[in-house]
Symmetry: C4
Subunit: 225 residues, 4 copies
């Protein structure tokens, strides 16, 4: 149901992915070639290349795939590029959730939270929780709801996360995010705008939670007003 834009439009994925990659880099979420972004438009799935400086990606360096995960359009550059190793993980979000975009960050906040928690990150009674949408009911969480982000164990190769991420998504149908321990986070939603909003809210909440821990404050207060 998303809009179809011509390539000249700034919100066409060929232009939007490089712009969002620069933003992620500036936020420290995609330094050292880390992180990744994929956006769907119409029947096309746009994915950034692997192992390149994310803040320098150009529109002609993006891969285009179809719903079967086949590359239907190579990047229009002479550079030898490989498609992102996150591709099968992005397709978990497309196939299991009908997502319109999937974002992957290496934010240090995510790594620290994954070390402070066992199987889930849980927080409640913070306004920014309302920026996150329940992926099953499609309704925004409420202020008093508990945001739950499940955590899976990291693997040696990114693609080997595919099965455990999918299994986790089945177990947590309401979640729009999966934390990968000692690694980072995947976040998806129906549109890139909602996915970007969700990752910003969740990263804010994780950064806040770390500062709360240092100050001796509870993440899920009992009897909070």
């Amino acid at each position: 149901m998303s809009d179809i834009f011509p390539e000249s439009h700034p919100e066409h994925p060929l232009n939007l992915i490089p712009e969002l990659c620069r933003k992620f880099y500036d936020l420290g979420w995609a330094t050292g070639t880390g992180g990744g972004i994929s956006i769907k438009m119409g029947e096309n799935y746009y994915i950034a290349p692997s192992g390149v400086q994310k803040e320098r990606i150009m529109p002609n360096e993006i891969f285009v795939l179809n719903a079967s995960q086949d590359v239907v359009e190579e990047p229009r550059t002479e550079k030898q590029l490989k498609i992102s190793e996150c591709t099968p993980l992005f397709f978990n979000a497309y196939r299991l959730r009908g997502a319109g975009a999937c974002l992957h960050t290496h934010s240090a906040n995510c790594v620290l939270i994954s070390l402070l928690c066992d199987r889930e990150f849980r927080i409640s009674h913070i306004e920014m929780i309302k920026g996150i949408i329940n992926n099953e009911t499609k309704k925004a969480l409420g202020f008093r709801d508990t945001l739950v982000v499940p955590i899976i164990e990291n693997t040696d190769f990114e693609k080997d996360l595919t099965a455990s991420m999918a299994e986790c998504m089945v177990r947590y149908p309401e979640s729009c995010a999966v934390l990968v321990r000692r690694h980072g986070m995947y976040v998806w939603s129906d549109t890139w705008q909602k996915a970007k909003g969700a990752v910003e809210c969740i990263d804010y909440l994780m950064g806040l939670a770390i500062r709360m821990r240092t100050l001796g404050l509870e993440w899920e207060p009992k009897g909070a007003k």
Copy 2:
């Protein structure tokens, strides 16, 4: 008494609100569609839309209201936009204080301070306190004065803060700001310049206070020179 600018002027609210929203986003005060800005010019009240990425707001996406809080000019765009849910809270500042601008941030500093304090945030003997104006006397606070920012409890919906914020403003006539626990802060002043100065000073003081707490330093020193 504020100046009236043509729409081509960078300080016309249609241009200024998007610019300030981008600044707030860069400061982490308006991530994930959070936060909001309203500015009055002449008899018009300009208000940003709700639930959109604040750093991408365009001049043609702003609502214009009159003193009765009626929309007199819809955004000049085909996008389906809703007016900010902060609207009745902005009008608290316009009606109860004759404000010229009202700003709302989701700064993590505000949330943490609201968790470290009971009913008020209090700090004294820091130079930046002098950047804040007593809303009753219209004089700047002095270095030795105590800045007091009252705290109200959060509600499930933003608009439900209207009555408690108004009641708090009556109880604290000298204050130009109200903290909302676990949520953020509203700050207003006679002009957008003064409101921006106030929110920058208060956020600086809250960030400083959190670092002081970690280092074991007092916020209201007894017998400070």
Copy 3:
């Protein structure tokens, strides 16, 4: 001995002061109208206005003074501007030290250091100390030297710091900086480039020292290699 530039040159003080004010704002040193910058070129002393948003200062808003501290050229704008309240403090640096520029920041690092120290901030054995010039010998400090920044008490009005800052400068002839407790810092040097280098190094060292304190590390290590 500094170069004389035409007004069209980016390093003419009318252009440079606004540029450096924007940088200081981005670093958090000049939020909420705080901080200030003065640069000398030829026989003219250029000073920013008071109580305005530092990141929005325009070239036509700068005051020009002579060596007697008289305004010889008003800002070329219709705005009603007042000269910076830091003016007599900047002239301490011009008169007592023959400075070419004087910078004033409200960095939170400075405020915290002023609360952690009694009469002096002292640190040694950090490479960045070498970026600071002994104001008496005009030689750079060495890695093993101790940087000493004296601290004076804050006053109700900025101008009332003039005498105690001057007295402190006489007592610490080697120092290119004075900390004002609970307020900020003044830094000067022969040229704006050196003053900017010094304030960047000192602020870096103060930020580092605060993190060192949190980690239990000594600022002046005994027997360090």
Copy 4:
């Protein structure tokens, strides 16, 4: 084997060094004239000047050297510039490792890590470790590998680090980085892209490690999954 670009190309070292210096400055790695960058193209070694504001370097201020470390092209400016004092240290990387670029930062993270460790910084089981290449095998480290960055003692003058850095590089043939205690870090690789990726990953890991220490988390977990 690196590409040869004309001077008009943004990736020509005359343009790239100023761009990367601005980035390093924004990251706090090159404030107060600290830090440095050198890139090789063809048979030319490009090196930034010493003691200047790194974020203001212009393409005509870069020195060009040959493999014998002789200046073959002076900066094309009237300014009196000195070549970076890091030059012999950059040439350690060129001579001992056949590097294509060598980067030097004064990041506060590096200084703090050098104070928390004895002879080596060691960390394992963090995804970002995979962004660093073993300088001997030319293969990327694995998630379960331990990143080891050796530490040498600082000296009074930068050039006096030359021998101890070289000796350290011989002892740690797999490392692409050397920490200088109380000073900063040198990082090199076959290309500037890989060197930039490595310094971003290592600085991320050091910043993370400091936060982990504050939260009581281990850097080299025993029996981590």
